[in-house]
C-alpha cells in the first residue's frame, strides 16, 4: 500500500493511519495553535482554536480531533480559519478576567500569545467586572483562579491521563461548568496529591504556583536543568532562578519523568534557603556549640582523626557516605576513608 498523502497549505505530506490532521501538521513543522491539546492525552476539540479548513467539509474542523484521510486538502491559516480563530479567542478572553498586567502567566500564557498573534483586542462581550469567580488560596502549593480558566480541559486530562491521579473532572453542565475536584471541594480536601501536573498543563494563569506569585516574570528568570533531590526516580527538573534565588521548579520534558513531578520534587525545595540552614562550622565546647571558621574546624577534625588513627589504628575510624550527596562526593569520601585514613568501615544509608 502506498503511503497516504494529504495536502496542507498547498504542500503534500504523507501520514500513517490513525494520525490526526494536527499530528501531521506538527510533524511537518506547521504550527497549528491549540489550547486544549496536551501531550498524548485524548484529543477533545474543546477549545476550537485548532480549527482548519478542509476542502469539501461544510464546517471548519478541529485539527486535533479529525483523522487525516488520503487526498484531504487542508488550509491552516485561510481567511475563514483566521476569522473563526479570532472569534474563539475573543470569546475566551471575554469569558473571564484576563488582565495580563498582574497575571502570573504573562509572557507564558498561550491565550495571550494567540491574542497577540491574531491581533485580537479588547473583547466586545466581556463578563461584567463584578462577576464572582472562585479563588482558591488555602494551601502552600497551588492557587486556583477561576477567573482565568478557559475550560480547555487540559488540567483534567493531565491529571487523569498523564499522572492518572483521577482527582479532577469537568463538573456541572452548560454555562455553569467548571473544573471540580471530587465533590467540588478545594484541592486540599479532595483526592488531589499536589503533583502539579495541572499547573504545568494550564495554558493560562488559572492554576498558579503559590510561592512563585510576584517573584518575577518569565523573561527575568534563568532556567537550570538539574535532578530532583528527593527519591530515586531522579526526575529532571528545571529550576527557575531570579537574582540568585530559586523561584519555582517545573518538570523537565526529559527522561525519565517526561515532564512529570510529584509534590516533593515540585514544591519541596524550600529547605534550600530555609533559615535553619547551617551557615558556618560549629565546634562543641563544654557541651555547647560555638561558631568557628573553616580553618579552625577542619584543622581540629584533621588533628583528632590523625590522632585516633595513629594511636588506636585506622580500623577504629568509620566514615558514612550519603545517599543524598553526589557520585563525585561519595567517591571522594570512600577514597578519603580508604586511601587517607586506611579504613574500610565505609557505608551509607542504602539499607534504611
Amino acid at each position: 500500500m502506498p503511503p497516504s498523502i494529504l495536502t496542507i497549505n498547498g504542500a503534500t505530506h504523507s501520514f500513517e493511519a490513525g494520525q490526526t490532521i494536527l499530528d501531521v501538521a506538527l510533524g511537518s513543522g506547521i504550527t497549528v495553535p491549540t489550547l486544549c491539546n496536551y501531550k498524548d492525552t485524548t484529543p477533545t476539540g474543546a477549545c476550537r482554536v485548532c480549527v482548519v479548513e478542509v476542502e469539501g467539509a461544510r464546517t471548519l474542523l478541529p485539527a486535533c480531533a479529525t483523522q487525516a484521510a488520503p487526498g484531504m486538502v487542508v488550509q491552516t491559516e485561510s481567511p475563514r480559519v483566521v476569522e473563526a480563530r479570532k472569534m474563539v479567542i475573543e470569546l475566551l478572553l471575554a469569558s473571564g478576567n484576563h488582565n495580563c498586567l498582574v497575571c502570573e502567566a504573562n509572557g507564558e500564557c498561550e491565550l495571550q500569545s494567540l491574542a497577540y498573534r491574531y491581533q485580537v483586542t479588547t473583547p466586545d462581550f466581556a463578563n461584567p467586572p463584578d462577576t464572582p469567580y472562585y479563588y482558591e488560596d488555602d494551601n502552600h502549593m497551588l492557587v486556583r483562579d477561576f477567573s482565568k480558566c478557559v475550560m480547555c480541559g487540559r488540567c483534567v486530562r493531565a491529571c487523569n491521563e498523564w499522572q492518572v491521579n483521577q482527582a479532577i473532572a469537568i463538573g456541572y453542565r452548560g454555562a455553569h461548568n467548571k473544573i471540580v475536584a471530587r465533590g467540588d471541594f478545594p484541592y486540599v480536601n479532595s483526592d488531589c496529591v499536589f503533583c502539579g501536573e495541572c499547573l504545568q498543563a494550564c495554558p493560562v494563569g488559572a492554576i498558579l504556583d503559590k510561592h512563585a506569585i510576584g517573584q518575577g516574570r518569565p523573561w527575568e528568570r534563568r532556567l537550570v536543568r538539574t535532578t530532583c533531590p528527593y527519591c530515586g526516580v531522579g526526575c529532571q527538573v528545571d529550576v527557575h532562578v531570579k537574582d540568585g534565588r530559586m523561584v519555582k521548579v517545573t518538570g523537565a520534558d526529559a527522561i525519565p519523568n517526561l515532564g512529570k513531578l510529584c509534590a516533593k520534587g515540585r514544591f519541596g525545595w524550600h529547605f534550600v534557603d530555609h533559615p535553619d540552614r547551617l551557615k558556618t562550622p560549629l565546634i562543641k565546647e563544654n557541651g555547647a556549640f560555638r561558631e568557628a571558621g573553616w580553618d579552625e574546624a577542619l584543622d581540629l577534625v584533621a588533628s583528632r582523626l590523625k590522632d585516633i588513627r595513629d594511636k588506636e589504628g585506622p580500623e577504629k575510624i568509620g566514615g558514612w557516605c550519603s545517599a543524598r550527596v553526589t557520585n563525585e562526593e561519595n567517591y571522594l569520601m570512600q577514597k578519603l576513608m580508604r586511601a587517607v585514613i586506611g579504613t574500610n568501615h565505609v557505608d551509607h544509608c542504602a539499607r534504611l
Partner: protein
C-alpha cells in the same frame, strides 16, 4: 532496576510488592497506572495495606506482614504445576532449578493460605496472570527488603522472574525502587564496606593494586569493613572510636534509636557534615555545613542506573560548602593533597577506575541528558536493561528458600504488628520535606494508621492520641482510622522526630544485607 522506568508502560503484567509506589516513587507509579488504564496491562499488587495502587490493580493479594516468601513460593509452585514456566530459558540460562522445584513443592495454595491468608483462588489467578504474560515486570521496594528475611525475599522474587524467563528481556525484570535520590550512586561509588567504586572487592588483590596505583598510596586495607548497622554496636565495644558522618541522620532513621544515641555519645570524636543541625549533628563534636543539591554540581544515579547531571543553581548559602570541597580540604590537612579543579575532574578519575562508568563523560551527559550504566566506552549507548542474552555471572542461579517467621511475632503483651514506612508528602527523616511549607502543610504530624475494627477494640477514635509501645520504646501520636490499614497491624511513618518510630523498631538484622527489620515488630497500644 534491571530494566528502565519507561519500559513499565509496555510490560504485559506488572507485579508490585512491598512498594507503596504512588507515595514513595510517585512518578514511577504514573507509568504503572498508565499501563493498566490505557494499555490494558495486568497489575498484581501483593501488599498487606490497601495502598492506592490497589484501586488500579487487576488482582490484590493481601498477605499477612512478613509472609512474602510463602506467597511467592506458592506462585512458583503453581506455575510449575501448570507447566507455565519457561523451560527453554531455564535450561539455557539458569541452574539449580531442581532444588527450587523441590522446595516450592510444599507451598500448595492451601498451605500458602494458611501462612499468609491469601485465598488459594487468588493465588491461582495471580500465577496465571504473571506466567502467561509475554513480558512481566516485578517492582519492589523497602517493604520487601526491610525484613530479617529481606535478602531471601529479593532472591525469591528473582527466582520467580527467572522461572518465567522475564530477566534479560525488554519490559521484564526485577526492579527494586531505590528510596533516596542517590542511593544507587552511593553504592556505585564504593560507599560500602566491601567494595571500591564499580563493586570491585576490597578483598581482591588485583582491585587493590589498581586502586593503590590510581591513588598513589602504598597499601589499602584488605579487610571488609563494618556496615552502618554494624558500626553502631561496635562503638560501645570500643571497636569504633571516631565517626565522620556525611548527610545521614541515624538518630531518626536507624532502628532502635535509643541505642544509636547511646552509642554515638560514647565516641571519642564525631564529625557530622550536613545541611541542617539534625538530631545526629547535635551529638557531634564538630559540625561542618554542607551545600545543598542546588548549590553544587555533580551527578546522581537514579534507580534505573541512569547517571544524570546535577547543576549548580545558586551560590552556597552563608559559609556552607559543597561536600566534595570539604572532603578534599580535609584530605589535604591529613597530608594527602586532593587537587580537583571541580566535580568534572573527580568524575574523570571515577571513569578511569570504574569500568561501568568508563564511557560516561560530562560532555556526553551535557549532550545526551543521562546515561545508564554499564557504559564501558564512550561509543557505548548505555544499558537500558541488564542481562540481555546472558547473566553477568554466566548462569542465573535459583535459590531454594523457605518461609521463616519474622524475628519478633505478636504475643499476649504486644499483640499488634507495627510496620513503618513513608507518606507522600514527607521524605526520610523529614529534614528537607518538613521545611517545605506545602509538604508540611499536607502532612504536619505523625499519624498511627489503624483499622476501624482495631480502633474500636481499643476504644480509640479517629484523631485521638494513642500511646504505642514496643519492648524498646514508646511514642504518642494521633490515630488515623484508615481503610488502608490491615487488621492486627498498625502503620507509622518514620519522618517525625516528635514521634520517632525507630525508638520502637527492632535492630534485628537481615543476616546478609544487614537491613533492620523495620517492617515488622510487635507493639501494644492504648489511648494516651
Amino acid at each position: 532496576m534491571t530494566n528502565s522506568i519507561a519500559e513499565l508502560e509496555d510490560s504485559d503484567c506488572i507485579l508490585v510488592t512491598g512498594s507503596n509506589t504512588t507515595e514513595t516513587h510517585p512518578v514511577i507509579s504514573t507509568f504503572i497506572k498508565r499501563a493498566v488504564k490505557f494499555r490494558n496491562k495486568a497489575l498484581i499488587v501483593i501488599e498487606p495495606r490497601r495502598i492506592d495502587l490497589v484501586s488500579h490493580a487487576t488482582l490484590w493479594l493481601r498477605q499477612l506482614p512478613g509472609t512474602d516468601i510463602a506467597v511467592i513460593n506458592g506462585l512458583m509452585n503453581l506455575i510449575i504445576q501448570e507447566n507455565l514456566h519457561d523451560q527453554a530459558y531455564i535450561a539455557e540460562r539458569t541452574e539449580n532449578f531442581e532444588a527450587l522445584r523441590e522446595t516450592v513443592a510444599k507451598y500448595t495454595p492451601e498451605y500458602v493460605e494458611q501462612i499468609s491468608g491469601v485465598p488459594a483462588a487468588d493465588l491461582r489467578r495471580a500465577a496465571r496472570l504473571y506466567a502467561q504474560a509475554k513480558a512481566a515486570s516485578i517492582v519492589y521496594a523497602m517493604g520487601v527488603t526491610q525484613h530479617t528475611s529481606g535478602t531471601d525475599n529479593v532472591k525469591t522474587l528473582a527466582n520467580l522472574a527467572m522461572l518465567c524467563g522475564n530477566v534479560g528481556i525488554e519490559s521484564g525484570g526485577v526492579n527494586p525502587l531505590r528510596g533516596q535520590n542517590n542511593v544507587q550512586g552511593a553504592c556505585d561509588m564504593g560507599g560500602l564496606p566491601n567494595v571500591f567504586s564499580g563493586y570491585q572487592p576490597v578483598t581482591d588483590a588485583a582491585a587493590r593494586a589498581k586502586m593503590e596505583a590510581a591513588w598513589g598510596v602504598e597499601k589499602l586495607p584488605d579487610w571488609v569493613g563494618l556496615t552502618m548497622t554494624g558500626m553502631v554496636p561496635a562503638i560501645p565495644e570500643g571497636k569504633i572510636k571516631a565517626l565522620y558522618i556525611v548527610g545521614e541522620n541515624p538518630v531518626i532513621s536507624e532502628a532502635d534509636a535509643d541505642h544509636v544515641v547511646k552509642a554515638l555519645n560514647k565516641l571519642d570524636f564525631l564529625v557530622v557534615q550536613d545541611i541542617f543541625l539534625t538530631e545526629t549533628a547535635q551529638l557531634a563534636d564538630v559540625v561542618l555545613p554542607a551545600a545543598t543539591f542546588a548549590e553544587k554540581s555533580g551527578t546522581f544515579s537514579n534507580t534505573e542506573r541512569r547517571v544524570a547531571p546535577v547543576r549548580q543553581v545558586i551560590a552556597p548559602l552563608g559559609d556552607s560548602r559543597p561536600d566534595w570541597q570539604i572532603i578534599a580540604e580535609l584530605a589535604r590537612r591529613l597530608g594527602y593533597p586532593m587537587n580537583y579543579a571541580g566535580p568534572e575532574a573527580i568524575f574523570e578519575e571515577i571513569r578511569q577506575v570504574t569500568p561501568s562508568y568508563a564511557g560516561i563523560t560530562y560532555a556526553r551527559l551535557e549532550a545526551e541528558g543521562g546515561l545508564q550504566w554499564p557504559c564501558p566506552t564512550t561509543e557505548h549507548p548505555g544499558t537500558v536493561y541488564l542481562h540481555r542474552g546472558q547473566f553477568s555471572r554466566g548462569k542465573g542461579a535459583f535459590f531454594a528458600i523457605d518461609h521463616r517467621d519474622p524475628a519478633e511475632m505478636p504475643d499476649a503483651d504486644y499483640p499488634l504488628v507495627m510496620t513503618t514506612g513513608r507518606v507522600l508528602y514527607q521524605y526520610h527523616t523529614g529534614s528537607m520535606s518538613r521545611r517545605a511549607p506545602g509538604l508540611e502543610g499536607k502532612a504536619p504530624e505523625c499519624r498511627v494508621e489503624i483499622t476501624a475494627g482495631d480502633a474500636a477494640r481499643y476504644g480509640i477514635a479517629d484523631g485521638e492520641p494513642v500511646r504505642v509501645k514496643s519492648r524498646r520504646g514508646e511514642l504518642v501520636a494521633r490515630a488515623l482510622v484508615s481503610p488502608k490499614a490491615v487488621a492486627g497491624t498498625i502503620f507509622i511513618p518514620f519522618h517525625y522526630h516528635e514521634a520517632p518510630v525507630n525508638k520502637l523498631t527492632i535492630a534485628a538484622l537481615d543476616p546478609v544485607a544487614k537491613i533492620p527489620e523495620f517492617k515488622v515488630c510487635a507493639v501494644n497500644i492504648e489511648k494516651a
